[in-house]
């Protein structure tokens, strides 16, 4: 057959295979990072904070695979330990913002009316602030460290989740199966929490996964600005900050390695989240 469908056949197959490969690689990268974070003390060859002033800025060697930084600390060990805050803090933000967002979205979508309007305007106000700005504000108010920015970012990201949840719940509420539950005599709160909520959470969860990447990058930026994780703790953002001086001296690895880790983690999480939400979204409740 000479119809255009043939050409489509040729183009499509490899694209699908490539997507699978990218997805597999991303899962692999994230898996390695999570394992590194979980077993950091066991894997890391050195104490991340052990200063060896005799061996500062030593390039990659058998002893130090990725070399050392300005204070002679092992770069590989610090990167491995840095994965802990780099992954844990965004995880906390995603979990908290998803939980808060789902509750608010469910209330707004299910109840509708004035409550929906009030919550909707509230979300708009939060949307107006860039999340990083809110985090910096929180640091200014409550002091440096990770706790304040995590809470601030959770608040900043909750409206995204809430708005999505609300729209899904509104769509779901008008479906006949919800009316069928009401006709059977189930109470509206029971239907909302026990039946509608489980039907929308997979989609919301998939979208929240995508937030992880953004939060990771923003928290790294915060640490880079010196407002997040504080020296001497190993953190990718803070490591880049500390390594700034070295770049001018030609020692780019101490900055490049954590930067590459941030990029890899964000890309991996986004690829996984994208794929996950495609799979869920494609099979929307039927």
């Amino acid at each position: 057959m000479t119809t255009p469908t043939m050409a489509v056949t040729v183009l499509r197959a490899p694209r699908a295979a490539r997507a699978d490969l990218t997805f597999g690689l991303s899962v692999g990268v994230l898996g390695v990072m999570v394992a590194a974070a979980a077993f950091a003390p066991l894997i890391a060859p050195y104490d991340p904070d052990a200063v060896d002033l005799a061996a500062f800025y030593s390039g990659p060697s058998a002893a130090h695979w990725l070399g050392t930084d300005a204070l002679g600390r092992d770069l590989l060990s610090r990167t491995i330990h840095g994965a802990r805050t780099a992954l844990l803090a965004p995880l906390a933000v995603v979990v908290i913002s998803t939980a808060v967002g789902i509750v608010l979205g469910l209330i707004a979508g299910w109840r509708g009316g004035w409550l929906d309007s009030v919550l909707g305007r509230l979300f708009d106000v939060v949307f107006a602030f860039p999340s990083l700005l809110l985090a910096i504000l929180a640091v200014a108010l409550f002091g440096k460290g990770l706790v304040a920015p995590v809470i601030a970012m959770s608040i900043a990201y909750a409206p995204f989740v809430a708005r999505l949840t609300r729209s899904l719940v509104v769509a779901e509420r008008s479906r006949p199966y919800v009316a069928a539950y009401r006709v059977q005599g189930f109470s509206p709160p029971w239907i909302a929490t026990r039946r509608v909520l489980p039907n929308v959470t997979p989609i919301v969860g998939a979208q929240s996964t995508l937030n992880f990447g953004y939060v990771l990058a923003e928290l790294a930026a915060l640490s880079f600005l010196g407002l997040g994780v504080q020296a001497p703790a190993a953190d990718w953002g803070a490591m880049i900050n500390e390594a700034q001086a070295g770049i001018l001296g030609g020692h780019f690895l101490p900055a490049l390695v954590p930067a590459a880790a941030v990029v890899l983690a964000v890309v991996a999480v986004n690829v996984i989240g994208e794929e996950y939400s495609n799979r869920i979204g494609g099979g929307a409740p039927a």
Binding site: T2, V8, P176, Y177, R182, Q184, G185, R195, P285, A286
Partner: protein, 579 residues
């Protein structure tokens, strides 16, 4: 000469699934050929192949010739020429197949200006002509209107006019009236017939409705599972079907047989005869007396009103819009064990009535009494909710949407049981299996998710779920309109047998008079929120009093060869079954 000839067309999807197995058919100029079959039979696929609209990566074999030119494997350019001048298509739902952001004038003149190089003025003049020919009331005004300003029937006329712009020799109609009311359908059908006459077009008419096919078509081809089951003159195929599949289809199709003009057998007996099907428990061959006797059989207790609705009204008021009175002073009574049909077209208020009955909407005025208990107000407390649920249950129109996609069938029914009876898990499970058995499902279905079930199976689940609560009144809101005719017949039989065994009272809401006559002894006709006529179903069909009822009955398609009798002929007696 042959306008369209499809020869041994077979079609495989890229994964190797064969959807069409050697379909052949021919259409001559000026002839209407019906392609009849249930969903999944491949009728739309066959029709779309004629215009080269194939599923992606599908492999075809055989040949399709339009005006002697081969379509399969034709170049893009040839296909375009074919679609522009030789053949065009009218789709099922006009609302979804027209661009909502362009005016009707744009829609009708676009192809003339872009493909035919017409000037805007000529194209507009032609569009007006076309709109006049499909009997649109105000062509000049419609030119500037947007699709949302037109009703479904008017929009379908616009789509037909659009299909005619290229003066095609072949018109393919894919269920062009399936989304429309029956009175609207009658208008569309007459326009199609008229255009076929004046233009000498060949028409390939796809439908699932045997009555409509019988009314429209000279010849029919019956498809099932991608194979041609039977072909021939419409009159012969429907009057004397040969293939087993066609026989089943004809038997399952509800009709209005003997309605106007009278029938020597008498309406009540005809009702009996149509209530056919393959119910093993049916009393084969028995032809019961008039409806009154049967009611007495079903419920030995003296008739008393189980459902009593008095002066019910509901008006929707939205800010900035005109108030819509959906239900206007409706009063009706249904006796215990009785079945009342509520017939009306879209917008007649019949669904609002149902929603008020089951407590999903509050009425503005009037009262609803079920079994002596007031059920007018929206249930607020838990006790009121449960009591209301035990009074009235409902089976919804679309079984694809009325079941929770996440829950297994057994779980869905168990939920209802737990809520209403505090049954232990084991007890509930046993009752679930019993209920599934009653609606003709098996134990293995208890663990199935809705998406793995067919439409008919899902509707059985919905019925079982409603029965689990053991309501006094079961409201069926268009419960079979989303189903294929053979499945519809099974579900209607199921409803009949449940009524017989449980003495259940049924309010059957439908747009389809033929379906209602199959289930209900009594019927009310709703029009614009009001009940315009009520009485025994047979009497209403035989001698409609209200002009609207008359129009409704006259609009039901009937075979072209026998204008007096509506619907396809029935199978001989022997399938009788009491209600």
């Amino acid at each position: 000469m042959t306008l369209l000839s499809i020869d041994e067309l077979s079609l495989d999807l890229h994964d190797g699934t064969r959807l069409l197995h050697g379909v052949s058919l021919e259409i001559a100029a000026g002839e209407t050929v019906g392609l009849v079959g249930e969903s999944g039979s491949g009728k739309s696929l066959t029709a779309r192949s004629v215009l080269g609209l194939l599923p992606p990566r599908a492999a075809t074999a055989g040949s399709i010739r339009v005006d002697g030119r081969e379509v399969l494997g034709a170049s893009r350019r040839d296909l375009l020429a074919l679609r522009r001048t030789s053949a065009s298509m009218v789709f099922q739902d006009p609302r979804t197949s027209i661009n909502p952001a362009r005016t009707i004038g744009d829609h009708l003149t676009e192809s003339l200006r872009v493909c035919g190089g017409w000037s805007a003025r000529d194209a507009t003049r032609r569009a007006v002509e076309l709109m006049e020919s499909v009997r649109l009331p105000r062509p000049d005004e419609h030119l500037r209107q947007y699709p949302h300003e037109l009703s479904g029937g008017m929009l379908q006329r616009v789509m037909i006019a659009g299909a005619l712009t290229g003066s095609p020799r072949l018109l393919i109609c894919d269920e062009p009236t399936a989304a429309l009311d029956v009175t609207t359908q009658a208008g569309i059908v007459s326009v199609l017939l008229e255009q076929r006459e004046t233009r000498g077009m060949g028409v390939l008419f796809i439908t699932h409705d045997l009555n409509l096919a019988a009314a429209m078509c000279d010849r029919v081809v019956v498809l099932s599972g991608g194979r041609v089951e039977e072909r021939g003159l419409a009159r012969e195929v429907f009057g004397n079907p040969q293939a087993a599949y066609t026989k089943r289809l004809v038997a399952a199709t509800p009709t209005l047989a003997g309605a106007p003009g009278g029938d020597s057998v008498g309406p009540a007996v005809v009702v009996e005869r149509i209530q056919g099907g393959s119910d093993a428990t049916g009393r084969a061959g028995s032809v019961a007396g008039p409806p009154g006797d049967r009611r007495a059989e079903a419920a030995p207790v003296p008739p008393q009103a189980l459902l009593d609705i008095r002066g019910l009204s509901k008006t929707y008021r939205r800010s900035g819009r005109e108030a819509v009175t959906a239900v206007d002073d409706v009063s009706l009574r249904v006796e215990r064990g009785g079945a009342l049909g509520v017939v009306g077209e879209s917008g007649s208020g019949k669904s609002t009535l149902a929603r008020i009955l089951v407590g999903l909407e509050a009425a503005d005025a009037g009262e609803v009494v079920v079994d002596g208990r007031a059920r007018t107000s929206l249930p607020a407390s838990r006790a009121a909710r449960l009591a209301h649920a035990r009074s009235v249950q409902m089976v919804f129109q679309d079984p694809y949407l009325s079941l929770d996609p996440r829950l297994s069938v057994g779980r869905a029914i168990e939920d209802a049981l737990h809520l209403h009876s505090h049954a232990t898990s084991r007890d509930a499970r046993a009752r679930v299996l019993r209920l599934l058995d009653q609606v003709g499902l098996e134990e293995r279905h208890a663990d199935a998710r809705p998406r793995t079930l067919s439409g008919g199976q899902r509707q059985r689940v919905a019925i079982a779920r409603a029965l689990a609560i053991e309501p006094d009144l079961l409201v069926l809101d268009e419960a079979t309109s989303a189903l294929d005719v053979s499945v519809q017949a099974q579900v209607l039989d199921l409803v009949a047998s449940i009524r017989r065994h449980r003495g259940l009272t049924v309010l059957f809401i439908s747009h389809d008079l033929a379906v209602v006559r199959r289930v209900c002894e009594d019927t009310v006709v709703m029009h614009r929120g009001r009940i315009v006529e009520g009485g025994s179903t047979a009497a209403i069909l035989a001698a409609p009093q209200h002009p609207y009822t008359r129009r409704l009955i006259e609009s039901v398609p009937r075979p072209g060869w026998d204008p007096a009798a509506a619907g396809a002929p029935l199978e001989p007696a022997g399938r009788g079954q009491g209600v």
